[in-house]
């Protein structure tokens, strides 16, 4: 028996504004994801490199000059985001791919859009639901690393630490925005989450392998050639943010363009699915 004994009747309580649906959708999806044991394990695994990098920071103080490694430069964060990129690629295939595809399969669209839920809220809610675990494996460990770096350094000012935190946030937003928008568009294009996930990983790896072959064949290290690979574009952006390497500018522009295009295409796609489900 339920704990509530009241009989069904009319409702005259408060109603939250439409914009709150973004959080409702995101929260429900994140709860659904975290209810799965393997998702929790995957996120925990993503912290392993962080622990390793924190150890590098500590020991880097000892072997700093001998190894030519500066533990207080941005290199440590470049390494962190590079490993996080691979975890994010796997996470997108594992659960980002199902985010819209499952709603298409279970015909859930009328359940959303016959309620006071706008397409904007639906898309932003889903994006936020993917972005949360992505930020969990990029932003959160990055911040922990920054705190470790600040705690170990004797002469690192709060201003420098603040700038580092801002850079970490910037890199996390680029990674989360790009990955979640692309995977959400791909998810909206298919009905099988498995095929969408394999398609995403295939695209990610195929472009990277093709890039490697072209680079070896041409024997050049051009930033424009880097645009062939999604992975390399992200790496170039990390170099731009943490090392000030201006070769990353074309990659940043390219990633922003891809994200913007995918966001626009996603909106069109959701409108089409919603019209089909009427």
């Amino acid at each position: 028996m339920s704990i509530y004994a009241r009989r069904y009747g009319s409702y005259d309580g408060p109603i939250e504004p439409e914009s709150s649906r973004i959080l409702v959708i995101a929260e429900t999806e994140v709860r659904r994801l975290l209810a799965m044991k393997w998702v929790r394990r995957l996120i925990l695994m993503a912290f392993t490199p962080t622990v390793f990098l924190a150890a590098m920071l500590y020991f880097g103080l000892v072997v700093k000059k001998a190894a030519g490694f500066d533990p207080f430069s941005g290199d440590i964060f470049v390494y962190h985001f590079r490993t996080a990129t691979w975890f994010v690629a796997v996470m997108m295939a594992a659960f980002g791919a199902a985010m819209i595809a499952k709603d298409v399969v279970t015909r859930a669209f009328p359940l959303y859009f016959t309620r006071p839920v706008s397409i904007r809220s639906y898309v932003l809610g889903k994006l936020a639901a993917i972005a949360v675990p992505v930020l969990g494996v990029s932003l959160l460990p990055g911040v922990l690393l920054a705190i470790t770096q600040w705690a170990l350094a004797e002469d690192l000012s709060l201003l420098t630490a603040g700038v580092t935190l801002a850079k970490i946030m910037g890199a996390s937003v680029v990674l989360a925005g790009f990955a979640s928008t692309v995977i959400l568009l791909m998810s909206s294009l298919g009905t099988s989450a498995r095929y969408v996930g394999v398609g995403w990983l295939g695209l990610f790896l195929f472009l990277d392998i093709a890039y490697g072959i072209f680079k070896a064949a041409m024997g050049t290290d051009s930033p424009l050639l880097d645009l062939m690979s999604l992975r390399q574009q992200l790496y170039d952006v990390y170099d731009l943010i943490f090392r000030g390497d201006s070769d990353g500018i074309p990659a940043l522009v390219s990633l922003c363009a891809i994200t913007g295009f995918c966001a626009a295409a996603l909106r069109v796609r959701i409108l089409a699915i919603e019209a089909k489900n009427r």
Binding site: M1, S2, I3, Y4, R6, R7, Y8, G9, S10, Y11, D12, G13, P14, I15, E16, P17, E18, S20, R21, V24, I25, T28, R32, A35, A98, K102, D103, V105, T106, R107, A108, F109, P110, L111, Y112, F113, T114, R115, P116, V117, S118, R278
Partner: protein
């Protein structure tokens, strides 16, 4: 008024789904009838604000269908015809999610979900995932999702689809009960028995146009002044006497000659009928306006002359 439509036209490219729909529907449990392709689903989606009318004006619960669609959706519920559910959620979680999508704060959503699940008869099964539910349980969950936010008007699209006779009766009982809460209902169904069982008014569409709107009893009562007259004995003699008195009399069942159908053209003519009955000293067992089944009324409206 529940909803008022004025000259609503709805086009899908070259196809015209609704043509000059003008109707003002009063509160209650209203049946939405019509042959396949008559525009029932299009009408519901227009009322929900999901489709903007090509032309015309409309208001649902006083809100404009063009400019206030989100406000309309806060106050109405919709139970889709097809199987539709949120993946990986239990029945209870699905109803809470539906409530929160309608704007209820978390605490209210939890309380309302339990209340509405009790109402639709979902007990412990509410804590199981919806994927594992039977058709009947899924229909109940869809009804609970449509009702959880306390809508003033609920659109039910074929709510008894796929239900066994017991489940169908229970679902009809719930729908009938909604009218007493009161929640207004627009029930779209191909099963005329369902409409006859729970509705107090009927909106009939054909070819995208309103063919009939009014109380169900008006539809079931013949318009030609036909009355059913049952006497204990002496039916043939009464039939002859009434015919002589100028009435049109028929015996619909040749095996029951004491049951007559008499056309009474005016109120005054009833006195002449009683005079004939008294003159023959007959015992009258039943006298009432002739009613027809909803099936026959439906066919008569959709295909005039089909029963001629």
């Amino acid at each position: 008024m529940l909803f008022e439509l004025q000259g609503i036209n709805q086009h899908y490219g070259a196809f015209q789904a609704l043509t000059d729909v003008t109707v003002a529907v009063r509160p209650g449990v209203v049946g939405l009838l019509g042959p396949n392709g008559s525009g029932k689903s299009t009408l519901i989606k227009t009322l929900l604000g999901m489709l903007e009318p090509t032309s015309g004006h409309g208001k649902v619960l006083g809100q404009d269908v063009r400019s206030q669609s989100l406000a309309i959706r806060e106050r109405v519920g919709y139970m889709p015809e097809h199987d539709a559910y949120f993946a990986d959620l239990t029945g209870f979680e699905s109803v809470v999610y539906a409530a929160r999508l309608s704007g209820l704060p978390r605490r209210h959503a939890f309380r309302r979900a339990h209340e509405v699940l009790d109402y639709v008869g979902m007990e412990e099964a509410r804590y199981r995932e919806v994927q594992g539910y039977s058709t009947g349980m899924r229909q109940r969950i869809k009804l609970a999702q449509a009702l959880v936010h306390g809508p003033q008007l609920v659109f039910l699209d074929e709510p008894t689809n796929g239900l066994d006779p017991k489940g169908r009766e229970e679902m009809l009982g719930l729908i009938g009960d909604l009218g007493r809460i009161p929640v207004n209902v627009l029930l779209s169904s191909h099963v005329l028995h369902d409409v006859e069982a729970v509705c107090d008014a009927v909106l009939l569409l054909q070819g995208g146009q309103v063919k009939h709107y009014g109380p169900l009893r008006d539809l079931l009562t013949t318009k030609g002044g036909e009355y059913e007259l049952q006497v204990r004995t002496g039916g043939p003699q009464l039939s002859q006497a009434l015919t002589t008195a100028g009435f049109q009399v028929a015996t619909p069942n040749p095996l029951d000659l004491d049951r007559l159908v008499v056309v009474i053209p005016s109120e005054e003519a009833i006195d002449a009928l009683w005079a004939a009955v008294i003159a023959l000293d007959l015992q009258v067992r039943h006298f009432a306006p002739l009613t027809v089944s909803l099936e026959r009324a439906f066919v008569d409206l959709v295909e005039p002359g089909a029963h001629a």
